[in-house]
């Protein structure tokens, strides 16, 4: 052990360094904790949360009822029902069922969709009181999550 190391261990330099680190972090600016219901976290756009059916600027659904998302889903939890429009010879979406209880938010449906109609949105408060609410229907997917404001 060299003299320097000996002096270091005698004057507890390492302990002092540790003390300085903890002392420095008392600065309130270092805080990373969020007070959740009062302060809401900023979620990235790429966060995969509540699924949504997207619309174009006129408020028309982008979904063409092709069923690519249902095929791509590894859990087979998407059910797309459609009818054929007699005039335009195109499929028209009637019902879109999404069982979010089995969803693992992998985003494969989003990738498979040719028209960008289904998207896992950044809405994150998905907890519910009943299992029935986990069955999302077309209307739920179009409207998205309604945030409840609780009074104190």
């Amino acid at each position: 052990m060299s003299i320097k190391e000996m002096l270091k261990s005698f004057f507890l330099v390492d302990l002092m360094k540790g003390l300085w680190v903890t002392f420095r972090h008392q600065n309130p600016k270092d805080l990373v904790t969020e007070q959740y219901p009062l302060q809401r976290p900023e979620i990235s756009d790429r966060f995969r949360g509540q699924p949504r059916l997207m619309m174009d600027a006129d408020g028309k659904l982008l979904c063409t009822a092709c069923g690519a998302c249902a095929l791509a889903c590894p859990e087979k939890l998407i059910k797309v029902s459609s009818v054929k429009d007699a005039e335009t010879k195109k499929k028209v979406l009637t019902e879109f069922d999404f069982d979010i209880g089995r969803c693992m938010f992998c985003g494969l449906c989003e990738e498979a969709c040719p028209s960008g109609a289904i998207k896992l949105s950044p809405d994150y408060e998905l907890a519910l009181y009943s299992r029935e609410g986990l069955q999302l229907h077309r209307k739920d997917l179009e409207d998205g999550l309604e945030r409840k404001v609780y009074e104190k």
């Binding site: 003390l19 903890t22 972090h25 008392q26 805080l31 990373v32 904790t33 007070q35």
Partner: protein, 422 residues
């Protein structure tokens, strides 16, 4: 009766010395209340400071910035079911927390918060403190044994070994400080006389015979952490190994008694350190900033501190009032700030500030040690048991003995030189 009560007000000694039973009882109650409030405050302070050191917020919900959290905790503990294990030794199990609390609070009998602000002045004050506070280990061992369970027993075993081995180094450091008192006239063991000796010698013993006094303080401040079973020497209650150590089987109110005793014990040993080495109730910088004018300036400190706290409360009240959900909190904080401001103004009165400043400086110094406790706890990992014993016996004990010898040699250096030169 009334003349008997009023008679003490004209004396300038502690009620114990004056033999005034009424004021003794009042002082005992005041000290008990003060220490309990200190424990409650420490509960909040420790959680808050530790949280900030770990980049967390700590308690925030109960009251503004969690100020009422300790009260909520206390309520919860009192309401909680008080379990006694079926195979426990009922009597000893019941008596252990009582024993721990009694010893922790007994030490405050001789703690001088000021020249007149002590319950009594004992001529063996320091010995009494060290002796009674080491009785606390008995309560811990009783708790561990009476629980009739492995973990508490192991915890109390560790605690016994640890407290006994650190006691020696601690007492050696105390001896060094007591020897220093004999530099001005007679040596003394009384807590009040020790502070007065520092006053007469114009030096705090931490700086006497530099660095001998400082080393003694260092040894004591390490040993006192081990004595009170605090991190990094908290092996008796190492939660990763022993659940909660000696108080594993305790719950509810009895557990809170252990908690109370732990913090009261921390304050008691901090008070010893402050009295012996940091000048007790004396204000800082008596030599550098001496004189009557500076005395006046320093005596304003308690009032100004309270006013500063009140100002902080006002700032936070204004900030909180902007948030609708925080309105109830803001009102509470405003009331708290008003009380603090009022206390601050009262402390600025000349008649009050002369009496209060002693207590203020003493509490500030003890508070510094309490902060150190929290700081160490959030910084250092726990020692292994053999490391703990190594530090106690192979490092602290030799250093403390060397400190005693050095103090003696430096103290009689003039006589020694005279002998050599003759």
């Amino acid at each position: 009766m009334i003349p008997y009560i009023l008679q003490y007000l004209h004396s300038d000694v502690t009620p114990g010395e004056a033999g005034n039973v009424f004021w003794m009882v009042v002082y005992v109650l005041l000290t008990f209340a003060g220490v309990s409030i200190g424990v409650i405050f420490m509960n909040w302070f420790e959680r808050k400071v530790m949280a900030h050191m770990q980049v967390r917020l700590g308690p925030m919900r109960v009251g503004p910035h969690g100020l009422l959290q300790p009260i909520a905790d206390a309520l919860k503990l009192i309401i909680k079911e008080d379990l006694t294990p079926a195979s426990a030794d009922k009597l000893v199990f019941w008596f252990a927390p009582v024993c721990v609390v009694m010893t922790a609070f007994c030490t405050f009998i001789v703690v001088p918060f000021g020249r007149t602000h002590a319950i009594t002045d004992m001529n063996i004050g320091v010995v009494f403190m060290v002796g009674v506070s080491s009785l606390g280990v008995l309560g811990v061992i009783m708790a561990g044994w009476a629980s009739n369970s492995q973990y508490p027993l192991l915890g109390s075993l560790r605690s016994g070994a640890q407290m006994v081995s650190y006691e020696i180094a601690m007492c050696m450091a105390v001896v060094s400080a007591v020897m220093m008192t004999s530099m001005s006239g007679e040596g003394t063991l009384s807590m009040i006389r020790i502070v007065e000796a520092q006053l007469h010698q114009h030096v705090w013993y931490a700086f006497e015979f530099f660095p001998v006094g400082l080393t003694a303080l260092g040894v004591f401040s390490i040993a006192m952490i081990a004595e009170t079973n605090r991190a990094p020497f908290d092996l008796p209650e190492a939660e990763s190994e022993l659940v909660a150590g000696f108080h594993t089987e305790y719950s509810g109110f009895r557990w809170s008694l252990f908690f109370l005793a732990e913090y009261a014990g921390m304050m008691a040993v901090s008070a010893v350190a402050v009295t012996l080495w940091l000048g007790g109730w004396l204000r800082p910088f008596p030599n550098w900033l001496g004189g009557a004018r500076w005395d006046t300036v320093f005596s304003l400190a308690p009032g100004l501190t309270f006013l500063l706290l009140a100002a902080l409360c006002v700032i936070y009240t204004v900030r909180m009032a902007a948030l609708r959900v925080m309105r109830a909190n803001a009102i509470g904080l405003a009331a708290f700030g008003a009380v603090l401001g009022l206390v601050g103004l009262v402390c600025l009165l000349p008649a009050v500030r002369v009496r209060v400043q002693d207590i203020y400086w003493f509490v500030v110094k003890v508070g510094f040690f309490m902060y150190l406790y929290v700081w160490y706890r959030s910084t250092f990992p726990r020692y292994r048991f053999d490391q703990l014993m190594k530090v106690g016996w192979k490092v602290l004990l030799p250093i403390s003995i060397a400190v005693v010898v050095l103090t003696a040699l430096v103290g009689v250096r003039d006589e020694l030189f005279a002998m050599v030169w003759r």
